[in-house]
């Protein structure tokens, strides 16, 4: 038999990466700051985002959100109560969002009319880290009920994040949450990352987070 080795050197997720690159250029041209929120199920992404959307609107910002789940539009309905335009992406079994799903759900939206677009990923600490959605900021969330070693258990995701959010800090004490250990673990995996300690219920830590968003958007406008 005659055998041949065919060199390919091709990214397996090339199609997603190309679409994400196109999205990134669109976001940039429109001047919208896009964030991809990633965490386990139950960390409180939706509650955190509800509060963020409401507060940003209160500051006069134009915001919108896409939210991914396997099934139901429950989260989109919760987020829409903030008054922001929201669309639900149902992945029907797929454990992460892909650039193509995002592109499809942006149809009909004028990105130039937005200051911030939040993409709430499917609750999963593994698979979303492989899929670029064209976001400028990837946000990893961790709740005080999850255990301080989660960043060590899921380094691939925490290492790819640009900012980290601790959620539910209002119940940190009854949960026996070791704050210093959690912060140290996040820093071990992603040295120097900005960390915000928040509670969507009490509003603690939200101001620092909103100021950060404002700074990052202003930075963007200068580019």
């Amino acid at each position: 038999m005659t055998t041949r080795i065919v060199e390919l050197r091709r990214g397996i997720l090339k199609k997603n990466d190309e679409l994400a690159h196109g999205l990134r250029e669109r976001y940039s041209a429109a001047g919208v700051l896009v964030l991809n929120l990633v965490s386990s199920p139950g960390t409180g992404k939706t509650a955190f985002l509800e509060r963020t959307l409401t507060e940003l609107r209160g500051r006069g910002a134009r915001v919108a959100a896409l939210v991914g789940d396997l099934e139901t539009d429950n989260d989109a309905r919760r987020l829409a109560a903030s008054g922001a335009p929201v669309r639900q992406i149902n992945t029907h079994g797929i454990c992460h969002l892909e650039a193509e799903m995002v592109a499809k759900h942006l149809e009909g939206w004028d990105l130039g009319e937005l200051d911030y677009l939040f993409i709430e990923n499917v609750g999963n600490l593994v698979c979303p880290s492989s899929y670029d959605l064209g976001e400028r900021i990837r946000v990893a969330l961790l709740s005080v009920t999850e255990g301080e070693d989660k960043p060590l258990k899921y380094p691939t995701l925490f290492n790819s994040a640009d900012a980290a959010i601790l959620t539910k800090i209002d119940i940190a004490e009854p949960c026996g949450f070791d704050r210093d250990l959690a912060l140290a673990n996040i820093n071990r995996i992603r040295p120097g990352i900005r960390i915000f300690e928040t509670s969507a219920r009490t509003g603690a830590g939200l101001d620092a987070w909103l100021d950060y968003l404002g700074e990052r958007r202003a930075e963007r406008a200068l580019v």
Binding site: T3, G11, I12, K15, S130, I189, G192
Partner: protein, 132 residues
């Protein structure tokens, strides 16, 4: 568990490239996977058997080459290899490192095909030809 969609992309890419080699049978597919790519080799192997059924890749072997994480350490002014994923600090000087140079790769390096009985005088195309 996104290994099935990853492996499906591999099958699609290789099948597409096979169009240039009519009648060829795929023997082996080689991937390069970074230690930070968030995929598990066992899951890839398991899914590969399923995803290749009924395709020109059926029966081929999947070879996964794992690439360690390489970071650039500014104080040491050189590339350093992380021994694991539990601490992103330079193994030489202990300083935190954030400048990732290798570790997120997820790519098809090459695939090997059997083009059937050697045709004398057949034109060689690109790629390395080995006669057995």
């Amino acid at each position: 568990m996104h290994e099935l969609s990853i492996v499906s992309s591999v099958v699609d890419s290789v099948t597409e490239s096979l169009a240039a080699y009519p009648g060829a049978r795929v023997l082996e597919v080689r991937l390069r996977v970074g230690a930070l790519a968030a995929v598990i080799e066992d899951s890839l192997q398991f899914c590969y058997g399923i995803a290749t059924q009924g395709t020109p890749l059926e029966g081929s072997v999947l070879v996964v080459k794992t690439l360690p994480v390489l970071m650039y350490c500014a104080p040491c002014a050189e590339l350093v290899e992380l021994p694991g994923l539990q601490s992103f600090t330079c193994p030489r000087c202990g300083e935190p490192v954030g400048d990732l140079r290798q570790g997120r790769e997820l790519e098809i390096e090459s695939f090997e095909i059997d083009e059937g009985p050697a045709a004398p005088g057949a034109q060689k195309e690109s790629g390395v030809e080995v006669k057995l």
